[in-house]
């Protein structure tokens, strides 16, 4: 397997009022180009911290992140982040939200007309081109998250980082967005790292599921490869033996091995 993105012996310690708090230690992960990897674990286990380290928003205390052979430790559009609560600027229209990122990333590389076409293209990818003049408060939660995804795709990231992107949505909307995401991953071949606490979502979308042990000093517990053929259809998979088996393994890890006092 070609190593596109690599975390080696990565750990992080936060300074708090009660002394240092070790959130992560010895996280080792290798991701191939075009791979779809999910990180799953109980809340507070440091999934988001891993993502923030990859994004460069946090600095690892030990170890580090290598992308395409180079160490990365600052935020950059080549590791775009989709935030859980969409993080759209409420004072900009859908189009302008995407345009803000496009203008910054492609400054001097694309002409005005090329940028406009590129913005439209990305809004089409998430089926939001019909609402480009609307403001975030005028569209639904699912639509906002679509725009958030379009903004990230428009940066042409090497890795798309998604921090529980569908966590705040209702089940039906979530299913729609998962299907859209599968389609986009298939069409563009983007490398995706997705944080989730939804077992079905992880099994349905991922090539590999990274299961994290509980914190403090959390690390990777097990990695499960999901070798279901693509394209995947949620209805057909519901009764597929391999799907059910994968699902059970994740549940086993979460609720038997990493049982957590509620």
């Amino acid at each position: 397997m070609q190593n596109y993105l690599e975390l080696s012996d990565t750990g992080i310690e936060f300074k708090t009022a009660n002394g240092p708090f070790r959130a992560l230690q010895k996280v080792n992960l290798k991701v191939a180009r075009g791979e779809f990897v999910s990180l799953i674990g109980h809340s507070g286990c440091g999934k988001s911290t891993v993502l923030n380290i990859i994004a460069g928003l946090y600095q690892a205390t030990e170890g580090g992140v290598i992308l395409e052979g180079r160490e990365v430790n600052t935020p950059s559009p080549d590791r775009a982040v989709v935030f859980q609560n969409h993080a759209l600027l409420p004072w900009l229209s859908v189009y302008d939200n995407v345009a803000l990122a496009v203008k910054e990333v492609f400054r001097g590389r694309k002409s005005k007309a090329e940028m406009a076409a590129w913005i439209r293209h990305n809004l089409q990818l998430v089926q939001m081109d019909h609402a480009s003049d609307k403001y975030p408060h005028e569209i639904s939660g699912g639509m906002k998250q679509r725009v958030g995804i379009a903004r990230c795709l428009a940066m042409q990231p090497k890795v798309l980082l998604m921090d529980e992107p569908f966590g705040a949505l209702d089940a039906l909307t979530r299913a729609h967005l998962q299907d859209s995401l599968m389609q986009i991953h298939h069409d563009l071949g983007t490398t995706v790292i997705l944080i989730t606490h939804d077992v079905d979502e992880a099994v349905l979308l991922s090539d590999r599921i990274v299961m994290m042990s509980n914190g403090p000093a959390a690390t990777i517990g097990e990695i499960l490869a999901v070798s279901l053929p693509r394209p995947r259809d949620r209805l057909a998979l519901a009764e597929d033996a391999a799907f059910i088996h994968a699902r059970q393994q994740v549940l086993q890890f979460l609720y038997a091995k990493q049982k957590r006092a509620a």
Binding site: L57, A87, E138, L169, L172
Partner: protein
């Protein structure tokens, strides 16, 4: 002013109907509720087809919404009742207060003074016109005799009338407020963005915030006298002194609210800015300023109100020819009309303060993206 609080939501509802984006497109995915409330006005129409042709759409909706109409009528009549009760109490109480300058003025006497002041204004205007007409006639005569004569128009030096004093006061407060904002907003942004800046400036801000304008005034007067020296000053010293005093006092609410607004920008939005690598200046311009605008405006409204209050005191002491000086002069005059005239000034100050606040609110509506928030 209760009726405004009632009337406002009504208006914003209509605004949305007129200028908003109409009904929101049906979401592709049935999901979380959209921020759309059609309001009562949208669902009601009039069965009366004739009226429809003559009335503007907005009025039609209002009239159609009889519940809304009666609510507005109720709010207005309550406001009128409130004012009426106040006037009655005032008239009765005033009659029982004897001062060395005669009886305390009731509404009737105050109204007489309003008319008096208007008369004086008209008289003074006529005098001024006559003054310039005389000069022009004299100049024309001089030019006719000797075309090379050095003619000039002398400025009118009569005493300022009430309207002019109001104008001076408004200019002074605008001047002071303007200076204050030029300092307060950048300072607030710096302190909001950087914890170090905040720690450095916060003690200074906290110490100067509670200082009364009267404490500043002597210092400002001396400094202005020392530094503002010019042959033909465009602005008088007393104007600058009271303007700067106003600025020193109305700085703080905006500084503090800007700091809070800037420091409170959503972490996610800042992370978006970091991921797309916005340079510092564009980060402020594209993310921080728009996000903090509602708080900055809250600060600006408080500042303007403070400035307006401070102004009167500053003008009294600096002898800047505005409303403050008017009150002081009337007090020193001590005629039987003085109290009534001061009361006119008090009411004018109140009404102008109210209007200034409403103007800021209008500006905020225009500038701020946050149309959802109810502005009061």
């Amino acid at each position: 002013m209760k009726f405004f609080e009632y009337a406002l939501p009504e208006r914003s509802n209509l605004d949305e109907q007129e200028h908003g984006n109409g009904p929101v497109a049906t979401p592709v995915d049935a999901s979380t509720p959209c921020a759309e409330d059609p309001g009562p006005a949208a669902t009601l129409g009039t069965p009366d087809g004739k009226a429809r042709r003559f009335l503007p759409q907005a009025w039609l909706k209002l009239v159609g919404d009889s519940a809304g109409l009666s609510r507005i009528a109720r709010a207005w009549s309550l406001a009128l009742v409130g004012i009426g009760v106040f006037l009655l109490l005032w008239q009765n109480t005033a009659g029982n207060i004897e001062t060395s300058l005669g009886q305390f003025p009731g509404p009737v006497q105050v109204w007489q003074q309003v008319l008096n002041l208007k008369q004086e204004h008209l008289r003074e205007m006529a005098r001024k016109e006559a003054f310039f007409a005389r000069q022009e006639a004299r100049n024309a005569e001089m030019l006719a005799q000797d075309p090379t004569a050095d003619v000039r128009i002398r400025p009118y030096t009569g005493r300022p009338v009430f309207i002019e004093q109001i104008r001076t006061s408004l200019f002074t407060v605008a001047f002071g407020f303007g200076i204050a904002m030029l300092i307060a907003i950048p300072l607030g942004i710096l302190c909001g963005l950087s914890q170090s800046f905040y720690s450095a400036f916060n003690p200074v801000i906290q110490i100067f915030k509670p200082v009364s304008p009267l404490a500043w005034l002597p210092l400002v007067t001396m400094v202005v006298s020392a530094l503002y020296v010019s042959e033909s000053p465009m602005l008088s010293k007393s104007f600058i002194t009271s303007g700067i005093t106003v600025a020193l006092c109305c700085l703080w609410p905006t500084v503090i609210n800007t700091i809070v607004g800037v420091a409170g920008v959503d972490r996610d939005l800042i992370n978006v800015s970091r991921v797309i690598r916005l340079p510092a200046l564009r980060h402020v311009q594209k993310i921080v300023l728009p996000a903090a605008i509602p708080m900055i405006f809250t600060g600006m409204r408080l500042s303007l109100a403070t400035g307006w209050m401070v102004l009167i005191a500053a003008e009294m002491l600096a002898q800047s020819p505005g409303l403050g000086k008017f009150i002081w002069d009337e007090f020193q005059n001590g005629s039987s009309d003085s109290l009534g005239r001061i009361m006119v000034a008090v009411l004018v100050i109140g009404i102008l303060g109210f209007v200034l606040d409403k103007l800021m609110l209008m500006l905020q509506r225009r500038v701020s993206w946050d149309k959802q928030s109810v502005l009061r």
